[in-house]
């Protein structure tokens, strides 16, 4: 069975070009870049240095050495938060300003730091998930050691005003970290232009391999490592370098930069076809997240009166993710949808469409047919739908029938 993969926020397939670039490091060029007494080591070091330059270029880092390789963005996020907090542990009171809709890697790292008496402050967000810049500025004080705000959200796709946040951070002299995992290759970002001090990268979200990521760290910023042992990566991250992974990340970064414009335009068209189709063909739906400031490949839709997992089952053959509790082992619906005040019963009926390179118009049209039929069928058995038709209010929620405000 050939599935249509529409879960590119969870992970992406490895680009064939990237795999080809990795093959030498997976076969004959197997040296350890730390081995400086022989050619195998030198060749590995050379490959790593080239990849470092490719990654630096993707984010506009002035020097390749500003890139610290990690095992992924979860580690990069942890290194950014804990690295700063531990480097400043002489401060009697420390606080970090972030958002309630950050990825778990940021939130759970922050939660860990709370146990070490670091205060975590959440800047207010609007119902689309966009940070309130005034509230952000108000939350910063002389004990603020870090601002950590994602570039774009992995569930609802909302893009933050990164440059404005960077300006505020700079004005207050506070380092600014952004988790750019979902944005890279889909939305242009530049650490110099946007005043970003740290930026998290994950290869497998941009057609690179799993198990490799990076943290851009502005020159001069000192982080205490979370992984010690030998002093690799400018003393910020020890461990034998994952050469094939790094080469893959480098190549993925090069392609992401090269294809950014064409691919994001193509994705936007596809996404709009999907969005318009849903709004035209299905009643009582609501778009979660920002109507326009969102990733071009993201669409998050609440289908009122139906539950997400049952709708995913109806879309047999399509790989999708949902905000439904019934698709997570924790039996909790999405904390992101909660944080932007999507009523629970709508969160349970929300699907996330993550478009990517493999998707075509044909895929979108197949999915639209499946959704229309599935929603109709499931609403026919939904007691909530009957209630709604009888005018009983389930929760005070607004359902849009009109096209999105563009």
């Amino acid at each position: 069975m050939n599935l249509i993969y529409m879960d590119h926020h969870a992970t992406t397939p490895l680009d064939a070009e990237v795999l080809a670039a990795m093959m030498p490091a997976l076969t004959s060029e197997y040296g350890n870049p730390s081995s400086n007494t022989h050619a195998y080591g030198h060749a590995a070091r050379y490959m790593v240095d080239s990849a470092r330059a490719q990654v630096a270029q993707l984010v506009g880092a002035p020097r390749p050495d500003d890139i610290i390789f990690t095992s992924g963005a979860t580690e990069a996020d942890n290194l950014a938060l804990k690295g700063i907090a531990h480097a400043k542990d002489y401060m009697p009171a420390r606080n970090i300003v972030t958002l309630a809709i950050e990825h778990k890697a940021v939130l759970d790292a922050a939660r860990r730091l709370q146990k070490e008496n670091v205060e975590i402050r959440f800047a207010a967000i609007d119902p689309y998930g966009v940070v309130d810049l005034d509230d952000l500025a108000a939350k910063i004080d002389k004990n603020t050691i870090l601002i950590s705000i994602q570039t774009a959200n992995s569930e609802i796709g909302t893009i933050q005003p990164i440059r404005e946040i960077g300006v505020i951070a700079k004005k207050h002299g506070v380092p600014f970290h952004t988790d750019a995992v979902q944005a890279l290759g889909r939305y242009e970002i530049d650490v110099m232009r946007d005043h970003i001090d740290m930026l998290s990268i994950s290869a497998h979200k941009m057609y690179g391999p799993k198990g490799i990521g990076a943290l851009y760290v502005r020159r001069g910023l000192k982080l205490t490592p979370i992984i010690d042992g030998g002093g690799h990566e400018r003393n910020m991250r020890s461990g034998t370098l994952n050469v094939p992974g790094i080469v893959g990340l480098g190549k993925a970064a090069e392609i992401a930069k090269r294809d950014l414009k064409s691919e994001s335009e193509r994705l936007l068209k596809l996404r709009n076809r999907l969005e318009d189709g849903i709004l035209r063909r299905i009643e009582h739906v609501r778009i979660n997240g920002h109507p326009t400031n969102r990733l071009p490949n993201n669409l998050n839709v609440a289908f009122a009166y139906v539950e997400g997992e049952s709708l995913i089952l109806a879309c047999r053959g399509v790989a999708l993710s949902s905000g439904s509790a019934c698709t997570s082992t924790s039996l909790q619906s999405s904390y992101v949808l909660k944080a932007i005040n999507v009523p629970d019963f709508l969160a349970h009926g929300s699907l996330r469409f993550g478009l990517g390179k493999s998707n075509s118009e044909e895929h979108v049209d197949i999915v639209l047919d499946l959704l229309e039929k599935g929603v109709r069928r499931l609403r026919e058995m939904s007691p909530l739908y009957d209630m709604a038709k009888e005018g009983v209010s389930i929760e005070s929620a607004h359902f849009s029938r009109h096209a999105r405000g563009k």
Binding site: E307, S310, L313, C326, F345, P383, L384, D386
Partner: protein, 134 residues
């Protein structure tokens, strides 16, 4: 490659795809509504009881695949049963009839049992309200 449905038994998927007894029983004399939209599942079970026998049962369910399948299965199981026998149906029995459920979905079968009990309790209450006390 495996399929997204592989968490579920064939029977579950059959009941999800071809649910039995969807709807509201005409002239129902017992209705059970359990669950909570905020929690992601609501089951409404309507039954018609004649001479202590459940002669008809239908459901409407908002919930995941397992919730729909257990609802469908429970309507099948109760039809033609005496109230006493129907009350013997447990969530475990529904699960077994479906060829098992994934661990995280067991609560759905509990909900189905509860919906049935609620419908029968409603029938009993209606009867007490209408007919003079025995």
């Amino acid at each position: 490659m495996m399929d997204a449905w592989d968490d579920y038994s064939e029977k579950v998927m059959d009941h999800y795809e071809n649910p039995r007894n969807v709807g509201i029983v005409e002239k129902a004399n017992g209705t059970g509504v359990v669950g909570n939209p905020a929690c992601g599942d609501v089951m409404k079970l309507t039954i018609r009881v004649e001479n202590d026998i459940i002669v008809d049962a239908k459901f409407k369910t908002f919930g995941c695949g397992a919730a729909i399948a257990t609802s469908s299965m429970v309507t099948e199981m109760v039809k033609g049963k005496s109230l006493a026998d129907a009350l013997e149906i447990s969530n475990r029995g529904v699960m077994e009839a479906l060829g098992g459920l994934p661990k995280v979905k067991r609560h759905c079968s509990v909900l189905a049992e509860e919906a049935l009990k609620a419908a029968i309790a409603d029938y009993e209450k209606n009867r007490r309200d209408i007919s003079p006390a025995a």
